[in-house]
């Protein structure tokens, strides 16, 4: 990834605002694997994840003017767009599947077959560092980040008090931090 240092973040933002195709192409080459992984983890279906990735990059291209550097880096913003697009897609799919049976049951998303399978087996093969994260810790990160679950849903899914969700999240992230630094 020697070319990674070719553009600074400010240059990337400026290039996107100036509708520069070369910058867009560079941005795609460098960030699409990470964004695609988010879509894949959320959706667990390659075709839909590909559509989500495409939609996310169109949104990035079209709404770069809304990017606010004071809230975080460009990559963080792009990740948020990819994650939210994927979760919207997952929820609309899950909702369509479940609306007849449960209407808006808080746990509808946890009953989704895709997620149940996902919780048992990781289809992607994690890096060694993340593999060492305790399953319990990883589950809370995955439920929050990749499945867009609310605190209430996580509290029910993991059977922990609502007030404990945030502290459990913090513990998980702290453990993850330690592993990533190794």
């Amino acid at each position: 990834m020697a070319a990674a240092s070719t553009y600074t973040e400010a240059e990337l933002v400026q290039g996107l605002k100036a509708r520069n195709e070369k910058i867009f192409s560079y941005l795609y080459d460098h960030y699409s694997p990470a964004l695609y992984s988010v879509a894949l983890k959320v959706i667990a279906d390659e075709t839909t994840a590909g559509d989500v990735l495409q939609e996310a990059f169109v949104k990035i291209w079209r709404s770069i003017d809304k990017y606010d550097a004071t809230k975080g880096r460009l990559f963080t913003w792009m990740l948020n767009i990819a994650r939210n697009t994927a979760i919207d897609s997952l929820r609309s799919k899950a909702y369509k599947l479940d609306q007849k049976i449960t209407d808006v049951d808080n746990l509808a998303i946890l009953n989704e077959p895709q997620l149940a399978i996902y919780l048992q087996v990781d289809h992607l093969g994690l890096s060694k560092a993340v593999e060492r994260l305790q399953k319990e810790q990883r589950t809370i990160i995955d439920l929050a980040y990749y499945k867009g679950c609310t605190q209430e849903e996580i509290s029910k899914a993991l059977d922990i008090p609502l007030g404990t969700v945030k502290t459990r999240m913090r513990n998980a992230i702290m453990q993850l931090r330690g592993l990533l630094k190794q």
């Binding site: 590909g50 079209r62 890096s127």
Partner: protein, 296 residues
């Protein structure tokens, strides 16, 4: 505020990993602006999340990039729009003003949606004003003639129903099917963007011709809805001779969808005209709206 307690509560981790409801998100962002130490931790957590996500990185299939480059390269053209799912199109069908030159230029990209929303609101407000003025006039001038009023109401209701039927029939005939989507990538189909003509300077349609089946297609983006007594025709011109390629369906719901027209052998030019219903063309009442040259 005990900032250390706030930091150790787990709220920042929950914020970065998207666990918080919107009101709490706004709160964390406000506090991060106020306290540099909170901001620093948030930035650190965001970086760490990026590293975490990269652990899973998977290279996407190459055709996605090809599609995206095509979309952004042609984003202000109908071809680029057609490559997108309906909900992402900038040119989602919207009601158009009656026979006025469209004011929206193809190049205005950002802010265009907002502009359109204002247009719709403005159109709605004007509509309400006209209806309200009509009702006032109706009540003031004719308040005693109940029978005539009743009959008029029935007649207008009938007309609305007829228009509704007409609209739904037309919509059904221009439904975008999967077959249509394939046409966009079909190497046999040549797609060209038409240019405006005379007092109608903006390109408003895309025309396609299928080399294999000889079928002609048209996608309307911004032709204004024709008045009741007129309709749009597509005519081909080959060696100076015009030929009829069919009548266009122009309704808000037909915009952005492929219309199948007549077949024609090697057309040289296409012309979109507005003509009185039932006319045979080539008379003084024909108005040219769009022209396109087919360079074969």
């Amino acid at each position: 505020m005990d900032i250390n307690h706030y930091i150790s509560s787990g709220v920042l981790e929950s914020y970065v990993y998207g666990l918080l409801p919107e009101d709490e998100v706004a709160e964390v962002e406000a506090i991060a602006q106020q306290y540099p130490e909170v901001r620093e931790i948030v930035e650190d957590l965001q970086l760490q999340k990026e590293e975490f996500v990269k652990c899973y990185a998977v290279t996407p299939p190459p055709e996605i990039k090809a599609r995206l480059m095509l979309i952004i390269r042609n984003e202000s053209t109908p071809e680029g729009e057609l490559a997108l799912p309906q909900e992402l199109r900038l040119n989602n069908p919207v009601p158009q003003p009656l026979l006025t030159t469209p004011a929206v230029k193809m190049k205005a990209v950002t802010g265009k949606k907002q502009e359109r929303i204002w247009k719709i609101i403005a159109a709605a407000v004007i509509g309400i004003l006209i209806i309200s003025a009509g009702i006032n006039f109706f009540l003031a001038t004719d308040s005693k003639d109940y029978k005539a009023r009743y009959e008029r109401l029935i007649a207008s209701q009938k007309k609305i129903d007829e228009n509704k039927n007409l609209e739904s029939n037309q919509t059904a005939s221009v439904q975008e099917s999967d077959e249509d989507k394939k046409l966009l990538k079909d190497p046999n189909v040549i797609w060209i963007k038409a240019s405006g003509y005379g007092p109608h300077p903006d390109g408003a349609v895309t025309i396609g011709w299928n080399k294999a089946s000889k079928e002609v297609y048209l996608v309307n983006w911004r032709l204004p809805i024709p008045p009741e007594d007129k309709q749009y025709h597509l005519r081909t011109i080959t060696d100076g001779k015009p030929a009829d390629a069919g009548i266009l369906v122009i309704t808000p719901s037909s915009n952005g969808k492929i219309q199948h027209l007549k077949t024609t052998t090697i057309p040289q030019s296409f012309v979109v005209t507005l003509e009185p219903i039932g006319s045979k063309g080539a008379n003084g009442k024909t108005e040219i709206y769009q022209v396109a040259e087919m360079n074969l």
